[in-house]
């Protein structure tokens, strides 16, 4: 009797443990923990294996190269850089060049995409067909080919530095780029900048005040003209009153090239134009889909209350279409940023070209350099996404 009881007790306790493990909430936790342990083990294996392999092959590892002298030059630098700067400096130069072309590219691609997307829906046959042709061409040719076409089209059509096109105001265009006078601020220019800042802030304040007044009383206020006056006229008056405290450094032909002034290089122009036209085609389709997604009744209602077609688009259709447009638009912004890495093919010194290219080759530390480069693109993409999510939340329809 006692023996049987003991056996039963054991059975019960083992049953207890099993049934405890089979409880859904416990089971979930157990699997998650096992997965986590597996992942950590995998990462640890990869990392230790890499270190061992690199050490065995006598390849340097770690970030010791970061402060070493780079010893090569870069054609476009937004921050101070010479060939005696460090590899770390090269990283920042490349990063800023990537950011520059991405931000400007996103700005123009969005404008072009909206214009083309709306044009595709135009009732004008010619405009709608032209927009369709544009979209179909740019979407169906690989971006790399388009970049080559733009780059070599730009290069082949421009004259050498000695026969530059003069565009007036000390601006010249030749195969080496667009040369413009660069502004040099003199004493008192700070005041002009301060007036400009004041103008912008008061314009925003005016806008908010006018909006609230319109909500409350229905009276409208000429915000556009007031803002223009505040932002343009006020600083202009200050500039003239202070005796034009700004001089210009004009580019001048010296030896082989123009020296001085600002220069926009053909590589930058080609990459920017290529990215804008390519991404613009995709954005156009997103915009068209967004507008087409607004129920027809909304447009009919807008017409019924007597809005013009411009007002209808601006006040009724686009705000509702934005809900549909923004999420896929985010992916296009991310794509443009990532596609900017094709710069390496046409000599624009972006992050991939100077850091994942030249630095990788001079140091031979592929693992570190590629990991850092991937982390940069990941960070840029996450930042863009975060911003667009915030924007999307703001654009949501407020239901009353």
């Amino acid at each position: 009797m006692a023996v049987i009881q003991e056996q039963r007790g054991q059975q019960a306790s083992s049953n207890g443990l099993l049934s405890y493990l089979y409880r859904p909430e416990v089971r979930q936790v157990v699997w998650q923990v096992l997965l986590l342990i597996g992942l950590i083990a995998l990462f640890w294996m990869v990392i230790s294996n890499t270190r061992a392999n690199l050490a065995k092959q006598n390849i340097a590892s770690g970030l010791g190269f970061w402060d070493r002298t780079a010893g090569f030059d870069i054609s476009q630098t937004l921050i101070e850089y010479t060939n005696t700067s460090s590899y770390g400096r090269v990283f920042w130069v490349g990063l800023w060049n990537t950011v520059l072309v991405s931000v400007i590219g996103i700005f123009f691609a969005t404008i072009l995409g909206f214009v083309m997307g709306i044009a595709r829906l135009s009732s004008n046959w010619l405009i709608a067909r032209l927009a369709t042709v544009y979209v179909e061409i740019v979407r169906n040719i690989p971006l790399l080919l388009q970049l080559f076409i733009w780059y070599f089209a730009v290069l082949k059509s421009l004259p050498g530095p000695r026969d530059s096109h003069s565009l007036g105001f000390g601006t010249f265009l030749n195969v080496r780029g667009l040369y413009m006078p660069s502004p040099i601020p003199e004493a008192g220019f700070g005041v002009v900048l301060a007036t400009l800042a004041f103008g912008i802030i008061s314009a925003i304040a005016t806008y908010m005040w006018a909006r609230r007044r319109q909500m409350l009383t229905g009276q409208r206020f000429p915000v556009l003209w007031t803002s223009l006056g505040l932002i343009v006229l006020l600083p202009l008056l200050a500039y003239l009153a202070l005796g034009r405290p700004l001089s210009f450094d004009y580019p001048a032909m010296k030896g082989f090239n123009f020296e001085g002034g600002l220069v926009i290089q053909p590589e930058f122009i080609a990459l920017l134009v290529g990215l804008v036209f390519y991404t613009g085609g995709f954005i156009a389709e997103i915009v068209r889909a967004g507008i087409a997604g607004v129920p027809k009744g909304q447009k009919e209602a807008a017409r019924a209350i007597g809005l013009s077609s411009g007002q209808m688009l601006r006040l009724v259709v686009v705000p509702q279409a934005m809900r549909i447009i923004i999420p896929p638009l985010t992916s296009q912004f991310l794509n443009l940023t990532k596609n900017s890495s094709l710069a390496v093919a046409i000599a624009y010194p972006d992050l991939v070209s100077v850091f994942a290219g030249t630095v990788l080759n001079q140091t031979g530390q592929a693992v570190e350099v590629i990991l850092i480069t991937m982390a940069v693109y990941l960070t840029l993409s996450l930042l863009t996404s975060a911003f667009m999510n915030w924007f999307n939340a703001r654009m949501k329809l407020v239901e009353r």
Partner: protein
């Protein structure tokens, strides 16, 4: 991501990769023998050094070196798998085991020989960096190049020498950096740059691809030492020795007058030096893991060093580069091989 970045990333991942890679690297010779062909990293389009001809066959002095290696190993100079690598990709490809050796106008430098885990097996071509300009510019010397725009290829010693040279001579320049020679050529021909710079041999090689090669001159200044040669991974001395001695065999064959036309006769020679070279005396081939008639196979396959040079880059080839410092040591040059004994 670009396809280039992708290639590099894949290679980097392979490098992270498995212990299997590391195992294969320790015994490259066995791996090559088991595979039945040599994986050889060459340049993607440098006439005279490595470029596909109009029938799609690889030709050039770098290509011939790989063929010599294949001939020594397999008695068949065709048992080579060529992989075209840009300057940027080459080291990662070698480090990760994608190729067994690089034979693609790679300059021997101290950092490459140490912290990058590479070993240079010899100097198949002594070169130096030069400048090419359009005749229209009326430039006679590199000292007149202040302020010029310079087209250069990324990931090369050229990029660094260029910066050093202009800094040392207190001149400025504007770099335009391309990844591939073809885009570099197009941009230079379109007038994007005043100067084209790379190793002098490379200038001759690229110039023959231009629409009007005669419009461009190569300036007399040579601004650097560029010893070009085959590269292998560190830590595999057996494979390193094989590659090194294939190079020495090519030189020794030229020095002893053994070439592809007379090698069948020379096998019967009574000269003890030739007997050791061609394996009729001693066990020299077996000593490095090959057959004793390894040099006969090499010379039958691709000829000796002089034949390789003449055929690909010499005065009778389209490149027309004088032998110069690449003559044998006893004719006033730098090419010198230790004796086989």
């Amino acid at each position: 991501m670009t396809w280039k970045l992708k290639t590099t990333a894949i290679a980097a991942v392979a490098l992270i990769g498995t212990t299997g890679t590391a195992f294969a690297q320790a015994k490259t010779l066995d791996a090559v023998k088991a595979r039945g062909s040599v994986n050889c990293g060459v340049g993607p389009g440098t006439p005279g050094f490595s470029a596909p001809d109009d029938k799609g066959n690889w030709t050039g002095i770098d290509v011939d070196f790989c063929r010599a290696l294949a001939a020594a190993l397999f008695n068949d100079p065709k048992k080579v798998t060529f992989k075209a690598l840009t300057a940027k990709e080459r080291f990662t490809a070698l480090q990760s085991g994608e190729v067994d050796l690089l034979s693609r106008t790679t300059t021997w430098t101290m950092s490459r020989d140490s912290s990058m885990g590479l070993t240079f097996a010899g100097v198949t071509f002594y070169d130096g960096q030069g400048f090419m300009v359009n005749k229209k510019l009326n430039v006679k010397s590199a000292k007149q190049l202040n302020g010029a725009s310079v087209c250069v290829q990324t990931g090369t010693t050229t990029e660094l020498n260029l910066a050093d040279y202009f800094r040392a001579n207190k001149m400025t320049y504007k770099p335009v950096v391309f990844e591939k020679a073809d885009e570099l050529n197009s941009a230079y021909e379109a007038g994007r740059c005043d100067i084209y710079t790379t190793d002098a041999s490379g200038l001759y090689a690229q110039r023959i691809k231009f629409k009007a090669p005669g419009d461009h001159i190569i300036l007399p200044e040579i601004i650097s030492k560029e010893p070009l040669g085959p590269v292998v991974r560190q830590g595999d001395s057996q494979w390193f020795t094989v590659v090194k001695w294939v190079y020495f065999a090519l030189l020794n064959a030229e020095e002893l007058g053994v070439n592809s036309k007379n090698v069948a006769e020379q096998v019967k020679s009574a000269n003890p030096e030739i007997k050791r070279l061609l394996g009729t005396e001693g066990e020299f081939g077996k000593g490095i893991g090959l057959e004793n008639d390894w040099v006969v196979r090499i010379v039958k396959g691709v000829g000796n060093y002089a034949e390789m040079y003449e055929r690909n880059v010499g005065p009778n080839s389209p490149l027309k580069i004088e032998r110069g410092v690449n003559k044998l040591w006893n004719q006033g040059g730098l090419q010198y091989a230790p004796p086989i004994r």
